[in-house]
Every structure is written in structure tokens, then in C-alpha cells.
Amino acid sequence: MFSYIFSGDFPRSKLLTLLLVVIVVGLVLTPWLFPGSRSMETAMRIAIFIVLVASYDLLLGYTGIVSFAHTMFFGIGAYGVAITLNEMGRGYDAIFIGTALGFVGSVLLAFLIGLFSLRVKAIFFAMVTLAVASAFTLLVSQLYQFTGGEDGLTYSIPRELSPAFKLMKDKVFGVSINGKLVLYYCILFASFGLFLFMLRVVNSPFGRVLQAIRENEFRAEAIGYRTVIYRTATNCLAAGMAALAGSLMAIWLKYTGPDTTLSLNIMVDILLMVVIGGMGTLYGAVIGSTLFIMAQNYLQELMKVASDQFSAMGLPLLPDLIHPDRWLLWFGILFILSVYFFPTGIVGRLRKAKT
């Protein structure tokens, strides 16, 4: 049964299993363990990024394709929902149509890009995706009648999914059971579902071919796999998954703009999350996104606490060094160190430690 759900691909390391359980339980119980909207925002971001990063790992880690257009597909999914909700008003039909349009649009665009450019050398493919993604960002800011341009779109979602809609009069263990909580769990379980689907994909015969292409494309072709078809198919699949993640993000944030979906910064974040977690293993996406987003959101506070402590103790220099304003510096150093010491990512490191 477990084997079926996880497609026979277990974490294969006790520590890794423990970490994953902590993350999943943490996400499920966030509304109770860490009440407050900030922690819920962080948890949702983690859940959605797990899907986004895992889908990118399908390309980078499993197939060895470098693409810079992943945020574009994320954005297409998000804008699909944003635009339909904005134009059609708050309704489930708008959410459904927007998600479907975003998904189909992404897959089609990925197919076209793949058809025209997956035959060329990896570096040129990366350049093509970068160019297409930049053009798309430009397009979104130009078509402000539909997209809201640089300001983005703010819209409402169905009332049943908002905090104003109460399912129960009383709070349960201090948490009010409202529409927002329902939405939280819908998105969380949708994310888990998408993740498990991708886990199945990478452990299917198709997934094995992807790994074969990463390892030795020449030989994969020689034993009878038309690699360009497989590469295009992964490209489409990854794009579709990214679009669904984008739709979830749009529904949760009730806002979609270039900065939350399309920016190159997010692309870099995704790359880092894949690399830090571990390429070629989807569990890496879980670890990578969680660590990265936690650090992004809480490192500053942590440093403030530490800095205050040290200055209270009267230590010289140290409080200044870890002043909260310098959090980005430390953030960067942490990543350089982690890539340097864990070239196979955290998951790779943990699995190696076991054997």
C-alpha cells in the first residue's frame, strides 16, 4: 500500500525519512502548531514550491535539460486563474476554466518550444527558453488591460474559501474553522497529490528512459528510444505541473503579478532549491523548498534574536556581523557552503551516509 503510494521509491535513509515526516506533519498541522497568517503563508508557499521545484527536477535532475522558462509556465498557470477570476467574477467555474486554460496553454507552449529547439545543443535550448521567458514577461507587462501590467491583478475567490465563511461557530483547539482553512487543506492535498503523481512518473518506464537520456543520450537512441520525443514529453509534463502549481498559488494569494510568478529571481530560487535538495531525486525538492523558504522567511528573525543576545552579552563585532540587515549576505554564504559541501544535494548526502 505504502509502496503503491510512493511508487516503490522510498527515501532510503532514516534521517531523510524523519525529515520528510517532520515536514509533512508540520505542513498538515501548521494552522494549529503555528497559528497566524504568516506561518500559513509560509507553509502554503512551501507546499506549492515543492510541486514547482519537483517539476523542474523532472527536467534538470532526471533528464538533464536546462530550462529557464519554468517560471513562465508557473506564471501561465497563475495568470490563467487570475484573468478568469478577474473577468468572470468569483466562482468555481472561473477557477476551473482558468486552471484548465493555464495547463493546456503551458503544455502547448512547451510542446512548441520543444519541437523547435530540443534538437539543438543543451546550451542553445537554455538560451531559447530564456529568450521566450523574457518575451513572455514583456508581453504580460504590455497587455495590462488583461494582466494588470506591472501591478498585477487582485481578485476575489469564492466566498466559501475566504476567512469570512465560518463552518463552525466554535474554534477547534484555538483555530477557527473557516473557508481559508478549507482552502489551505485543498491546496496542501492537491500539492501532495501532484508530488506523488510525479514520483510515479519518475519511477515508471518513462521515468527510466529519462534517466537513460541523462546518462547517455547516444546510447538511449541506439537501443531504440527516440530521445527527442521523450525530451519533448518531459518538457510538456514539467510545464503542465508548473502551471498547476501556478494556479494553486494564484488561488491562495488572491493576487498575481510579475514579481510573484514570472520574475527571474524565482527561476534562480527554483534552481537553488533543486540543487540544494539534490538533483535527480524528487525528495530533494521537498527538502530544498522547505529549507530555502524557511531561510528566506525566518533567517532574518533568527539573526535578530542572536544579534540581540550577543550584544546583551557585550561581545564586540559579533552582533554587528550578524545584524539582521546582513541576512542576505549570510543567506548567500549558506548556499555557497551547502553547494560546496553537498554537491549531490542534501538528499544525496543523506543517502550516501547510509551506505
Partner: protein, 258 residues
């Protein structure tokens, strides 16, 4: 087998030029079911290039190649493989970071045509596993099925290379120096295997080989390439004794190979 049976594989004036250099020059040859043809020649004679033209890694400048009388000259590599060509490479060419079993299973699943299935669990497919294990056992790698391919010793990698080809279960098999770089005690495993394959009269085997003893024990026929030209084609005895071969091949460094 009747005399009128069409050749399984046939080349007609196959030629490839790299700039001014003609690596394979107007080679016309036929390969029949149930035969093993050794392709010999000095280094740089165009043997591997000839293989590359047949299996599709290189595109011919001129001439055509036919598999079961179907023109395969412009087909991509993967399609030729599906039509029934299986090839082992001279320089070991594996999926290095996957396990030995996974390597063979990839070939088995290619043959089964389920590569685009995204819902099945690959390692739960009993038939695939059993087939993969069967071919591993045939080349004597069954005990190392869970080992990562790149950690196998050279001889083991060569065996895996052959297992990958066998797992495609095709009728035309192309060996490119199957025993090159193997230790003395490993060579017989591969040679026995080729003998076994040869006994199956449905198979057509092409083999690039340097070692004279290997050629003598296995080949039904020898083709000699020299500077890209086909200079001799026939029974091992007559080919080896013909003056042109003495000069072109045996004259140049046969001592290194015998």
C-alpha cells in the same frame, strides 16, 4: 534456408566523406541470415565507420543501406533499432550511474515498447525483470545486477554492453570488437556467447574483430576493408590467402594481433 532468400542486410555503394577524406568508399555487401561475417582491416580502414553508417550514427554521403529490403538509409538511429538492428559499441557506452539490471531493463522495455508509459511502476513489472535477469545470466553478470554500471571492471562493462544488445532480441547483431581489452579468462565467456548466438540460424551477425584466432573460430565469411574500400569478400580461407589481403592487412602489423 534457400539460395533465393533475400539478404537480411545489404549495402549498396555506401560512402561517407569527411571533407576530402573518404572514410568508407562505395562499399557494397550482403549479409545473409544464419551467417557470421567478420569485418577486418587495419586501423583506420573504416570498419567502425561502416558500422556507424549501417546503424545510423553517421549519415551516408552516397549509397544506400537496406534492412530486409527496406531502405533504412535516412532513418534515425532509434527507428533502425526498432526495425531489427542491435549493436554493441567498441568503446563501452553504458548508462553509467544506473545499476546493471537497470541498464538491461531499459533495453528490454525498449523492445517491449512501453517507454511512454508513465503510470506503471517500472521495477514492479515481473516480465521485464525476469527478462533482464535472463540476459544478465547469459553474460554472467547476474550476481552483479545491483551494482552501479560504472563500478564494474572493464570486462564486466563489455559483457553488459553485449547484454544490452542481446536484450533487444533482434535478428541482426553487430559486435564491434567484443573482446577488446578483456582479460584472458573473460574472453571465452563472450566467445561462447557468440557461438551460441551463431547456432541460432535466425540471427545475422556482423563482427569487427582483430584477433585472428577469434575470426578463424567464428567467421563464416570475411570482409576486408582497406582505406575505406572493400578489398576482399569471401570464405575465410580464400580471403586470408589472397595476395591483396596479405599486402593490405596481414602485411601491416598482423604480428600485433596474433
Amino acid at each position: 534456408m534457400t539460395g533465393q532468400e533475400h539478404p537480411v542486410l545489404r549495402t549498396d555503394g555506401l560512402t561517407v566523406r569527411f571533407g576530402g577524406h573518404v572514410a568508407v568508399n562505395n562499399v557494397t555487401a550482403e549479409f545473409h541470415r544464419g551467417t557470421l561475417t567478420a569485418i577486418v582491416g587495419p586501423n583506420g580502414a573504416g570498419k567502425t565507420t561502416f558500422f556507424n553508417l549501417i546503424s545510423g550514427q553517421l549519415k551516408a554521403t552516397e549509397g544506400r543501406a537496406f534492412l530486409n529490403e527496406e531502405d533504412i538509409t535516412s532513418m534515425p538511429v532509434s527507428e533502425r533499432t526498432h526495425k531489427g538492428l542491435a549493436r554493441a559499441f567498441q568503446l563501452t557506452n553504458l548508462f553509467s550511474n544506473l545499476t546493471v539490471r537497470e541498464n538491461v531493463r531499459l533495453a528490454v522495455q525498449s523492445r517491449a515498447g512501453i517507454g511512454l508509459n508513465i503510470f506503471m511502476m517500472a521495477d514492479r513489472h515481473r516480465e521485464l525483470n525476469e527478462k533482464a535477469d535472463h540476459f544478465l545470466a547469459r553474460v554472467g553478470l547476474y550476481d552483479q545486477a545491483e551494482v552501479i554500471a560504472s563500478t564494474l571492471p572493464h570486462g564486466g562493462q563489455r559483457k553488459l554492453e553485449v547484454a544490452l544488445m542481446l536484450a533487444l532480441e533482434h535478428d541482426v547483431l553487430m559486435f564491434d570488437e567484443p573482446t577488446a581489452g578483456m582479460s584472458v579468462d573473460e574472453v571465452p565467456v563472450i566467445l561462447d556467447l557468440i557461438h551460441e548466438i551463431k547456432a541460432d540460424k535466425n540471427k545475422t551477425v556482423l563482427m569487427v574483430e582483430h584477433k585472428m584466432d577469434v575470426i578463424h573460430s567464428l567467421a563464416d565469411r570475411i570482409i576486408v576493408l582497406h582505406n575505406g574500400f572493400l578489398v576482399a569478400d569471401g570464405e575465410p580461407k580464400e580471403v586470408m590467402s589472397s595476395p591483396i589481403v596479405q599486402e593490405a592487412y596481414l602485411g601491416t602489423g598482423v604480428a600485433d594481433h596474433v
